[in-house]
């Protein structure tokens, strides 16, 4: 398999490279509960075959889902394919969305990320570096400053900071790359047992922190 193909082209989309305005936008669109209600309504209309609602939904969330696909695929052409497939699925499976279980954005992010890691597993073109895995949550001062501007962002940052470095790295690597425990152990040059424990403890800690 081609081990370098996916490396070219796109810059990493780490927090350290964010500019202020888009970040605010991201947080408003993901956290606001009013927004979740509207998305829920749009999904409900999609189940009735309302194409206008679907287009509206696309306008509202495609930029964010594209970011997720790009983060996983690292190449815009592959990310576009993932995004296309994800929206076709959202349209056909809108009736499967269960509003009691999760927020609409969580559901759609999950569809996109599943599509992406399915593709990655098929091609396995993206060798991951620790550096890449860390770029999402790097510790540069600018990242802190930008995050500090929003309360919810602070919560995430605080929770991520409670994780040990390897817990954070292994969770982010597994989530965005869809690798196996064995791959993770190889990539992180660590024993399988350690990797499993980083993932388990790190995820528990992250969830409890975000829920508190």
């Amino acid at each position: 398999m081609n081990g370098t193909a996916a490396q070219s082209g796109l810059p990493c989309h780490g927090l350290g490279k964010l500019h202020g305005a888009p970040l605010h936008l991201v947080w408003r669109t993901t956290i606001s509960s009013d927004d979740a209600d509207e998305l829920r309504q749009l999904l409900a209309e999609c189940t009735l075959g309302n194409r206008r609602a679907f287009e509206n939904l696309y306008q509202r969330v495609s930029k964010r889902l594209f970011a997720v696909a790009l983060r996983c695929m690292n190449r815009s052409d592959l990310a576009e394919e993932v995004l296309q497939e994800s929206f076709v699925r959202i349209w056909h499976n809108a009736s499967r969305y269960d509003g009691n279980l999760s927020a609409p954005m969580t559901w759609m992010v999950n569809i996109t990320r599943n599509q992406a890691i399915d593709q990655l597993r098929k091609h396995r073109e993206v060798p991951l570096t620790e550096e890449q895995a860390d770029t999402l949550f790097d510790d540069s001062p600018s990242a802190h400053e930008q995050l500090d501007s929003q309360r919810e962002a602070q919560a995430l940052q605080r929770c991520l900071e409670t994780l040990e470095g390897m817990q954070r790295t292994s969770i982010i690597t597994a989530y965005f790359q869809g690798v196996s425990y064995a791959d993770l152990a190889t990539q992180l040059a660590a024993p399988l047992g350690s990797v499993k424990s980083w993932i388990r403890r790190g995820m528990e800690r992250l969830r409890r922190c975000l829920e508190s």
Binding site: L15, K17, L23, S62, V68, T106, R200
Partner: protein, 224 residues
């Protein structure tokens, strides 16, 4: 394994959510999910936690072609033809009228290129998509409900003779309607019973000489 043990359920849901479960275990877990609403709720909690990891990603502008491709996928019979201005319509009618006159005169004068065969190519859902009329030296192709093709792709027309090896007849005109001139060997090929098929290929046609993309439309060529 005792799937009722809360700690185990929570750990399994976590492994499934982050994508670290091996394939067989994944299938088994999905099976459990079907009849276990509490497990579905547990999984949703993990998915919510993990989706938080995507929140700081900067939004990205999506090229328009993605939306067009989605539209074509969910509604493949829609024709994506820009609105025409009346002026062009008049021009077109005049042009068609002129060419008809020319064609009739030319036909009467030479009466060489007679209509021999015709075919209606169907999409997978049995909707007629393209009409093909085979004359001695060329094919007339007209779209009935042909969806637009994304940029960078072409539609290629193939003749599939009884022995089964497709022979390219050339690319469909960019907007579907037009004429494909036949070479002598192609003319001979259409003398025998053949199936016509249209496949989606890279721009400029199949690089291999055989169909590489999906067959979108097909139909038998029938004598008149």
């Amino acid at each position: 394994m005792n799937y009722q043990q809360p700690a185990l359920r929570r750990a399994l849901a976590a492994d499934y959510a982050i994508g670290l479960m091996p394939l067989t275990a994944r299938r088994r877990f999905e099976h459990l999910l079907l009849d276990d609403p509490a497990l579905r709720a547990e999984l949703a909690q993990w998915q919510t936690t993990l989706a938080t990891l995507t929140a700081p990603l900067p939004e990205h502008t999506v090229p328009d072609r993605v939306w067009h491709a989605i539209e074509a996928r969910i509604d493949p019979q829609k024709l994506h033809i820009p609105a025409k201005r009346p002026f062009w319509n008049w021009l077109r009618i005049t042009a068609v009228a002129c060419s008809l006159v020319v064609a009739i005169i030319a036909g009467a004068l030479y009466n060489r290129d007679t209509l021999n065969y015709s075919a209606t190519l169907m999409a997978a859902n049995q909707q007629p998509a393209i009409s093909v009329q085979a004359y001695s030296h060329y094919l007339n192709v007209a779209p009935l409900t042909l969806p637009s093709v994304e940029t960078g792709r072409s539609l290629e027309l193939w003749a599939i003779p009884a022995d089964g090896k497709p022979v390219s007849l050339g690319l469909l005109p960019a907007h579907g309607k037009g004429r494909i001139i036949l070479s002598e060997s192609q003319q001979k090929l259409l003398g025998a019973p053949v199936t016509l098929a249209v496949s989606l290929e890279p721009e400029g046609g199949s690089p291999t000489g055989q169909p590489t993309g999906p067959v979108l439309y097909q139909g038998a060529l029938a004598g008149l």
